[in-house]
Amino acid sequence: MSQNDKDVFARRGFLKGTAAIAGVAAVGTLLPSTGALAQQAKLKVGLMLPYTGTFAQLGVAITNGFKLAVDERGGKLAGREIEFITVDDESNPAKAPENVNKLVQRDKVDVVIGTVHSGVAMGMAKVIRESGTLWINPNAGADEVTGPLCAPNIFRTSFSNWQTTHALGKVLKAKGHKNAVFITWKYAAGEQMMAGFKEGFEKEGGKLTKELYVPFPQVEFQALLTEIASIKPDAVVAFFAGGGAAKFLKDYQAAGLKGKIPLYGSGFLTDGVLDAVGDAAEGIETTLHYADGLDTKKDKAFRLAYAKTFKLQPDVYAVQGYDAGQLLAAGLDAVKGNVADKAGMIKAMEAAKIDSPRGPWTLSKSHNPVQDMYLRKVVGKENKVQGVAWKALADPARGCKA
């Protein structure tokens, strides 16, 4: 219950916060600017994130993380105050071009931060590539964004789908598993994670016996669980998220497969669902670029500050939002807040070494994080870090010609 109370509180707090920012902005435009006070105009940051629907919580976490990065710099980036312009993209790909155009054309923002849903990100990419606006993507993992669609003005502070499962090949090999079955939803993210795993596993000499697909977003797994039981692979690797992940973990246990055929997954399989699934996830190992119990100074400080400011525990999405703020700050600092010097900013961002709660990372040529992939194990309600599954893993950025 308390978790929920907090969520409601945080949501309200967030809404109030945005209202207050909007109010301040409105008042600001009404005041006559006197010569003495004249200074650089506010930096316009467009937040295009889901604030309603299934991914609402992720949108809020990213926003909080970003704002925390700004707060830590005294509420300013490179000495410039920030004006936030928020658009709720509803995780609706059909509205993505229209929504991003609002920010780019109407509000003429200096930088766009967004979004969660990969389909929406693909819609944004086209508009952003044409307008040349600076874009920092704090989540959506579609391989294409830093692959065929890559561009000098497109950055990502999260992951590519390929990255989240690629390291699992090594992990399975080390455990002595020679063959595996991959199960996921039949949609772009699922297929990309499957491909990432397959490549990594086959490089280690493993064999992907079968690819099992559930139509998205269905959650009836029984038929495929029966098939897994009849195939009897050494291991099962899965990617589902949210409610689908919770149901899959429970069904896997209820079908008696847990403990007989070990289950691994992309970290999203066990993120944000541990309260819901009870002991069904206990002991499951996954790979992701963030974990509980990293025990670094930076991570501890970040978790403490986040919990204090927002009365919420941070998650991987908050980290990605926070790093989006840090990356933007690195670019702005280099040009002393002069966003007109876009080339200078991009150069500085490309060279930035981000001191992230997840551990330090840099950007690849295609502007995707080169980062450590952690092996995590579900212990109680935490995804406890077990070690680094792959040091400084870079996305291959296939198709990126920029």
């Binding site: 309603t52 609402a56 029984q222 038929a223 055929i261």
Partner: protein
């Protein structure tokens, strides 16, 4: 696939089919018999699941939660019928679509305010929290079998209520000629209120009983909505028997489809619907229930 696994898949298909019937039964009543297009059906399913979560964490028992929640949903259904739906019976279907679409948005936002956006879990009742081993590495959860039993009971009860009781007779008569029934001195308004409330309660009940299996999460209602309409359309509008047959057909088609032809698993149900509609536009049991 050897014979043992074929039998297990058959069981999976039947079990899934019965689950679909449970979820769609409320819609069969409201859409099939009253002729109301209720897009918010999934929302009531979701409300049921969230109530089950709230009340079972409060009372510590899913059974108690269900017993408490059913009267609540009946009252909710009656209130909605009195306040909103009653005014739309004489109007075009489009008005119902608008109203019920609006209700989806209202219920989603209320859900977010009251319960937040987390994925929540409901524990399987201790008595049913066991599995029956089928092969060396596969077992079948008792709770799923129990749900199948409940679904069969419910199907029988609904069939009996509508086909064999006096109330059912009035409901059917009201469905075919509302004015005539009213002039015979039957309080058709009350009957409509009851049927609507029953439909809502069934949707919510499905959400409650399914909560331990599916978990409880935002937008869970929209996931089941489309398949519910498919069940009602294939089964034939207004037929409980048809809905049961359609649910089982879909359950089997989807189970075997996912395993045998995974490439097209996502569209099997709709192909099935298209075939049935070409062959019998009124649905399997439509027009003669």
């Amino acid at each position: 696939m050897d014979f043992a696994f074929f039998l297990i898949q058959l069981l999976n298909g039947l079990q899934y089919g019965l689950l679909l019937f449970l979820v769609a039964s409320g819609l069969t009543l409201v859409f099939g018999i009253m002729g109301i297009i209720n897009l918010a059906h999934g929302s009531f399913y979701m409300v049921g699941a969230y109530l089950a979560w709230s009340l079972s964490s409060l009372t510590g028992s899913l059974t108690a939660a269900i017993l408490l929640a059913i009267p609540l949903t009946v009252v909710l259904g009656m209130a909605l019928e009195r306040l909103l739906f009653r005014h739309l019976y004489q109007r075009d279907h489009l008005y119902q679509v608008l109203l019920t679409y609006g209700l989806i948005l209202v219920f989603e936002e209320l859900r977010s305010l009251i319960w937040g956006d987390d994925v929540l879990g409901v524990a399987v009742p201790a008595l049913l929290n066991a599995s029956i081993p089928l092969t060396e590495n596969l077992s079948y959860p008792v709770y799923r079998l129990a749900i199948s039993g409940v679904c069969l009971l419910l199907a029988a009860a609904l069939y009996f209520l509508i086909q064999k009781t006096r109330l059912g007779m009035m409901i059917r008569a009201g469905a075919s000629n509302r004015d005539m029934v009213q002039s015979l001195g039957i309080d058709i308004k009350l009957i409509y209120t009851l049927v609507f409330a029953l439909g809502i309660a069934l949707a919510a009940f499905a959400g409650m009983i399914n909560a331990p299996l599916s978990s409880v999460f935002p937008n869970m209602g929209s996931q089941v909505l489309i398949i519910c309409f498919v069940v009602v359309v294939i089964g034939g509008i207004g037929s409980v028997k048809g809905a049961l047959a359609a649910s089982l057909m879909i359950g089997l088609a989807e189970t075997f489809g996912t395993v045998l032809v995974p490439e097209v698993a996502g569209m099997i149900v709709y192909v099935l619907m298209a075939i049935v509609l070409v062959w019998r536009p009124e649905g399997l049991f439509g027009g003669r229930a």
